[in-house]
């Protein structure tokens, strides 16, 4: 055991760094999904599409900015702008036109409505952005790389991956926790989550809160996509693979649990990168194994509250 560590300890350290940035990206997508599920009780399959659209929009805006001759740091504005756009336009549109009609329906119908939306958005995306990979990595390049010592060697990591991704994730987590616990709007969201009708009776406009939450969740998905966009090239289908992963996070975390989503993302991120180093065959199944293992021990998810059945 000790021998294994002295042989592989340094590699393990690198794996941790990689895992952290991956976890950050996973968290950014999963947290929005989790929030939406908490308030609307809808598993939004189209969340992956919102992620993809956020990424594409960010890249398009970034490319547009670059064509205007704006400096490289403007790329960051593009990222935020994309999240705002998706959150403020697409989110309300979907909630108003579609989701609002099916609140309170059977779970399976709600799930399928978003599945249908997912199918539609996949094609819409293709019609708008085409099929050739789109890349806009100015924000990543702008910050350059950081050399991490590795024995006698050094390993360059991008500063974007090392600082921006985990930084934004941690900031999002902290801001969300603060928002939900300390602000009135946050507490109102929690109230609607707990009991929509009781909340309405005390003067809360539940419909508005649901619209707000969904748009916010959509914005978070888009922000996740926007953050991922500088490191990757965008092709059709990026949404489909993202969404299953975030499902796993949500179920493992405990429904509606923000901190749970953070911890689960961390477990998945680290688990995956360790797998890539030492057992690459298992890389893809790591998130699901973690999920099954967690639910075996805690059937309500990591941070989930066991709902007691009244008799």
């Amino acid at each position: 055991m000790m021998e294994w560590f002295s042989d592989n300890g340094l590699l393990l350290g690198l794996a941790l760094l990689d895992g952290l940035s991956y976890a950050a990206l996973v968290f950014m997508v999963a947290v929005g999904l989790n929030l939406v599920f908490g308030v609307l009780r809808i598993v939004n399959v189209a969340h992956g599409s919102l992620f993809a659209i956020g990424a594409y929009t960010a890249a398009s805006i970034g490319i547009f900015f670059a064509s205007l001759g704006l400096p490289a740091w403007a790329g960051y504005i593009a990222l935020v702008l994309s999240a705002l756009l998706v959150g403020a336009v697409l989110g309300p549109l979907i909630e108003r036109l579609l989701l609002r009609r099916i609140y309170g329906h059977e779970d399976v119908l709600q799930l399928l409505v978003t599945f249908a939306l997912f199918m539609i958005l996949e094609d819409v995306q293709k019609l708008i952005w085409g099929v050739q990979p789109i890349m806009q990595d100015a924000p990543m390049k702008f910050l350059g790389t950081v050399d991490i010592p590795f024995g006698e060697d050094v390993i360059p990591f991008t500063a974007y991956q090392l600082f921006v991704l985990p930084g934004v994730a941690v900031a999002t987590l902290a801001a969300l926790a603060w928002f939900l616990r300390r602000t009135l709007t946050g507490r109102v969201i929690v109230a609607v989550t707990t009991d929509k009708e009781a909340a309405t009776a005390m003067g809360i406009d539940a419909a508005k809160i649901m619209l707000l939450t969904f748009s916010f969740g959509a914005g978070l998905a888009a922000l996740g996509g926007a953050l991922a966009s500088p490191t990757t090239s965008l092709v059709p289908g990026v949404g489909a693979s993202t969404i299953v992963l975030s499902f796993a996070v949500v179920a493992t975390a405990g429904l509606g649990q923000i901190e749970g989503a953070a911890l689960t993302s961390l477990m998945i991120g680290l688990g995956r990168s360790i797998a890539v180093y030492f057992a690459p065959e298992f890389e893809v199944v790591v998130p699901y194994i973690i999920m099954v293992a967690v639910l075996l021990v805690r059937p309500q998810g990591l941070f989930g509250v066991l709902e007691t059945r009244r008799v």
Binding site: L98, V108, I120, F247, A248, Y288, L295, R309
Partner: protein, 310 residues
């Protein structure tokens, strides 16, 4: 009940007629019937209020059983029961764990396990040929190797027979004490326990039965398409099965077959009409059905028949 029987007979005849008149539709309809059998399993679980968002894994197990065993035993009449047996065994193992969970956890765990199976099929390249999948050579039926045209008819016939058989089985099951208890899980699970009945066991039985039908459906699909790929187990395939269940309507054992036929036809014609936006059309159809005809095709047909009868 009468309406259902009538509709079933008319439907079966219509299928045979279509398959005879339009040769290539025979293939599509065989696949539809096969998927319908698998969707019957989804229907069972829906009756218990549970959505399996990973049921395609049983389809894949059935299909890959055929793919692996066919080179040594290319006999339809042996492969079908074998596929059913293995899917049932997997259903039992997974089910023992899964029936402890409800609602979203049940759905997501099914999804996770199907993704594990998908990943294994994709990763174990040496055995499964990864995403390329495995080609299944021509099979024999009762020891006789058949011409392509005859083989297609035989597969269609088997699928239709099994569809009717499983349809009747599921109908009887849903009306039986176990089936009614299954529906009780949706509304009042605690009562089951206090009647001295293990709700988990009731659900497990349904789950295993649904796995069996998934396996049979998968085996039929593979024998018809004669090529299997891990895509069969991907989450979107599972989503399709749930889609079909709702499209057909969960009100009757006929629903899955109505749904599967409608689904395959819409998909095929949408793909023919707009090859690069067929997904959008399918999504649109799904939305329309949920928003305006939540009873699915069965709901529309049965209310029409009722209106006519009255």
């Amino acid at each position: 009940m009468k309406r259902e029987t009538l509709l079933a007979i008319v439907g079966a005849l219509a299928l045979i007629l279509c398959a005879w008149a339009i040769p290539w539709l025979k293939f599509v309809l065989t696949v539809a019937l096969a998927k319908g059998i698998a969707v019957l399993g989804i229907l069972l679980l829906l009756r218990a209020g549970q959505v399996s968002f990973g049921h395609a894994m049983f389809l894949a197990v059935g299909a890959y059983t055929v793919a692996f065993v066919a080179p040594s035993v290319p006999e339809v009449l042996l492969l079908l029961p074998l596929a059913a047996l293995l899917a049932t065994a997997l259903g039992l193992v997974i089910g023992l764990f899964l029936v402890r969970y409800r609602d979203i956890f049940f759905g997501m765990l099914n999804l996770a396990l199907s993704m594990v199976i998908y990943s294994l099929l994709e990763k174990m390249y040496a055995i499964t040929h990864g995403t390329d999948g495995i080609r299944i050579a021509a099979l024999t039926f009762a020891g006789v190797s058949l011409e392509r045209e005859v083989q297609e008819w035989v597969m269609f016939g088997i699928a239709l027979t099994l569809a009717i058989g499983f349809g009747l089985l599921v109908r009887a099951y849903l009306g039986s004490p176990m089936g009614r208890a299954l529906a009780g899980i949706k509304t009042r699970e605690t009562r089951l326990e206090f009647m001295g009945v293990s709700a988990r066991l009731v659900l497990l039985f349904a789950y295993v039965l649904s796995a069996l039908m998934g396996g049979v459906g998968g085996a039929l699909v593979s024998m018809t398409t004669r090529h299997v790929t891990p895509q069969l187990a991907y989450w979107t395939s599972s989503g399709e099965l749930v889609f079909i269940a709702i499209l057909g309507g969960a009100g009757s054992a006929l629903g899955p077959f109505l749904g599967a036929t409608a689904f395959e036809l819409v998909r095929v014609y949408a793909a023919a009409a707009v090859a690069d936006a067929w997904q959008m059309i399918l999504g649109g159809v799904l939305l329309l059905v949920i928003l305006f005809a939540p009873g699915g095709v069965w709901g529309i047909l049965s209310s029409k028949l009722k209106g006519r009868g009255a």
